[in-house]
């Protein structure tokens, strides 16, 4: 394993890692603060009045609803969206062999590999993921932020700080549904408050004292989002598919959604009450310690208790430490080149092996969410835009965030981050790039040193250890 250039480098490594973590958590915190802000406003302004005038059940109901919203938010944030673990080296080699045999070529990089399969009469293309070294199942997609393939990939939600996929879509839906109820509830009672108190104080005074404007905008954006997802659930589509128009009739007369059962009720049942598959990343078998190229240790260090105690912990930890080191080394290479004036906050060194994996385990998609690949909510947004944006706004340091915050303010409350995976001609490097998708393409961001394999591997394998 190549060594870094010394302790100064390792300090910067830690710094960038900590910044990544911090900014990631900021998103969730921001979301929590927004929700809490409304509730607190509501409680301090309208509730006492309403409790007196109408009934004290109002604040109780509001509080209960708020707790439910919080619960679902946390559940969405901290659950595994359905990450597909990377292929073992043997599997990858076997697949490569099969593809080589099929292609009949060796020695030069063939075009992006696809496999066609017929599902319910529709031809679906399965793409080969160069990072995970697998053929992605249908509806799966590779999230460039989390750097993992996710089953039934919906989108990456920066507010939740996690991908929304097969395993946590229902929690996400519950979250936005309950949040819309909460905002409508608050809005309704704020209006009631204004009306009732305008009899006493006059309309304008009452209006000034209540947070009605903020409520109004948030109601519409959240309710709109819930409506959109209700439509998606009833037609059994993912945000990804809807934005790309995979099953829209515009593509062809015979184009239909092969996954939909045709019945709205059945589709809803499947999405919300269907069986919840267990996480695939906390059941990994023995992970060889000699595979540093196999980027993140996808044995999940779970929030609810690891279930892999039978497996070799030592190797897992080594893997974890190694991957983390690679990530940090790679991450700080551009950091050093670009910014010499970053404030240095030294917390711990990576040599303190036990602490760093613990930190790594808490990322939970946090650092990933620090990359706002903002895409506004309307489903008609062009997928190519997201692809380009993905390459333009690259990771990994806080510098990128300063530029993209204004962009974020302009976009809707909820961003849809589609992966770089868009139907693209084989020539488009950044969408199917074997260099690890969007991460290493921007040579203007990274210096030539970033092209070496160490950087490739680690930037590709940004440590994301999801929990169950």
């Amino acid at each position: 394993m190549p060594q870094g250039s010394g302790s100064a480098l390792s300090n910067f490594q830690v710094l960038s890692f900590v910044l990544m973590l911090k900014w990631g958590y900021m998103k969730i915190l921001l979301m929590l603060c927004c929700c809490s802000f409304f509730i607190i406003c509501f409680y301090f302004t309208s509730c006492p009045f309403l409790a007196q005038q109408l009934t004290p059940i109002i604040p109780v109901l509001g509080g209960a609803l708020f707790l439910f919203v919080l619960g679902t938010l946390l559940r969405t944030s901290f659950s595994d969206p359905g990450v597909l673990p990377r292929a073992t080296p043997d599997e990858a080699a076997d697949l490569e062999r099969q593809i080589d045999v099929a292609n009949g070529t060796k020695g030069y990089r063939p075009p992006p590999r696809t496999k066609e399969v017929v599902i319910n009469g529709q031809t679906v293309k399965l793409k080969y993921c160069f990072t995970c070294k697998i053929f992605r199942p249908p509806r799966a997609s590779h999230c460039s932020l989390c750097d993992n393939c996710v089953e039934r990939f919906d989108h990456h939600c920066p507010w939740v700080g996690n991908c929304v996929g097969r395993r946590n879509y229902r929690f996400f839906y519950m979250f936005i549904l309950s949040l819309s109820f909460l905002t409508i509830f608050i809005f309704a009672f704020v209006i009631t408050h204004i009306i009732l108190s305008s009899y006493q104080k006059g309309f304008l005074t009452a209006l000034k004292e209540s947070p009605v404007v903020v409520c109004f905008f948030s109601v519409w954006s959240i309710v709109g989002l819930s409506g959109f997802h209700t439509y998606l659930i009833s037609s059994n589509q993912t945000t990804n598919e809807d934005i790309k128009g995979s099953w829209s009739s515009k593509r062809g007369k015979d184009n239909y959604n092969p996954y939909s059962s045709g019945n709205i009720f059945t589709n809803c049942c499947v999405a919300l009450c269907g069986p919840l598959p267990p996480s695939l990343i906390d059941r990994r078998g023995f992970i060889e310690a000699d595979a540093p190229q196999m980027a993140p240790p996808t044995n999940g260090i779970t929030m609810y208790g690891a279930t892999q105690s039978q497996q070799s912990h030592m190797c897992d930890q080594d893997q974890c430490i190694q991957s983390t080191k690679y990530v940090l080394q790679a991450a700080t290479t551009p950091l050093l080149q670009q910014h010499s004036s970053e404030p240095v906050i030294i917390t711990s060194s990576p040599e303190n092996g036990t602490s760093l994996p613990a930190r790594a385990s808490l990322t939970l998609g946090g650092p990933c969410s620090s990359l706002p690949l903002g895409q506004p909510t309307p489903p008609t947004s062009t997928p190519s835009l997201s692809c380009h944006e993905a390459t333009d706004m690259l990771p990994i340091h806080g510098h990128a965030l300063n530029h993209t915050h204004p962009l974020q303010e302009q976009a809707a409350l909820h961003h849809y981050l589609t992966p770089e995976e868009v139907p693209s001609p084989p020539g488009m490097l950044h969408c199917g790039s074997p260099l690890g998708h969007s991460h290493t393409v921007q040579t203007s961001f990274y210096n030539p040193a970033s092209q070496d394999s160490l950087h490739e591997d680690s930037v590709r394998g940004l440590v994301k250890l999801s929990s169950v």
Binding site: F68, G71, R75, L84, P85, A87, T88, D90, E91, D94, L95, V117, V118, I119, N120, V124, L126, I134, F135, P137, P138, R139, E151, R152, R170, F171, M174, P258, Y259, C269, V270, L272, C273, G274, P275, L276, P277, P278, L280, I281, R283, R284, G285, T298, Y304
Partner: protein, 143 residues
């Protein structure tokens, strides 16, 4: 479990000649199914019928796990009402079936595959991507 361990220890002394990977079959959608095509590397090792029987049983078990039956619906609704805390005490239907699958694979290994110098790996250990069949060299089993 101990039996498997000793089997595996025995195997670790044996050399791994090859690994065959049975890929997923997506023709029924995203359901977990594996291809029943008989790989050529196993032609000399095991009977085609046996192999297909194993794969078919596994496919049926996985279909049962993912089935939207009344049990899973009730479980889903109950979980939603209890804010998913019920899974702290109870196993999901899927997990129960996964345990069944693990038992079945172990059984198959003991009865059919081990005597032929083969080892089936539970697909859950490979992220449900492949069924890995390890072929061991024959000489270690000459008694």
């Amino acid at each position: 479990m101990a039996e498997t361990h000793s089997l595996q220890d025995m195997r670790q002394q044996a050399a791994v000649a090859a690994k065959v990977f049975i890929q997923r079959d997506y023709s029924n959608g995203t359901m977990c199914q594996f291809q029943t095509k008989f790989p050529s590397e196993l032609e000399t090792k095991i009977d085609k019928q046996q192999f297909e029987e194993t794969i078919r049983t596994l496919n049926n078990l996985y279909a049962e796990a993912e089935k939207l039956g009344s049990q899973s619906l009730i479980e889903g609704c109950l979980a939603c009402l209890t804010a998913y805390t019920v899974f702290l005490c109870m196993e999901t239907h899927y997990e129960k079936v996964l345990k069944k699958i693990a038992k079945y694979i172990q059984e198959q290994n003991d009865k059919i595959y081990a005597p032929r110098g083969l080892l089936l790996t539970d697909p859950i250990e490979r992220g449900l991507r492949v069924i890995e069949i390890t072929i061991y060299e024959d000489r270690s089993f000459s008694r």
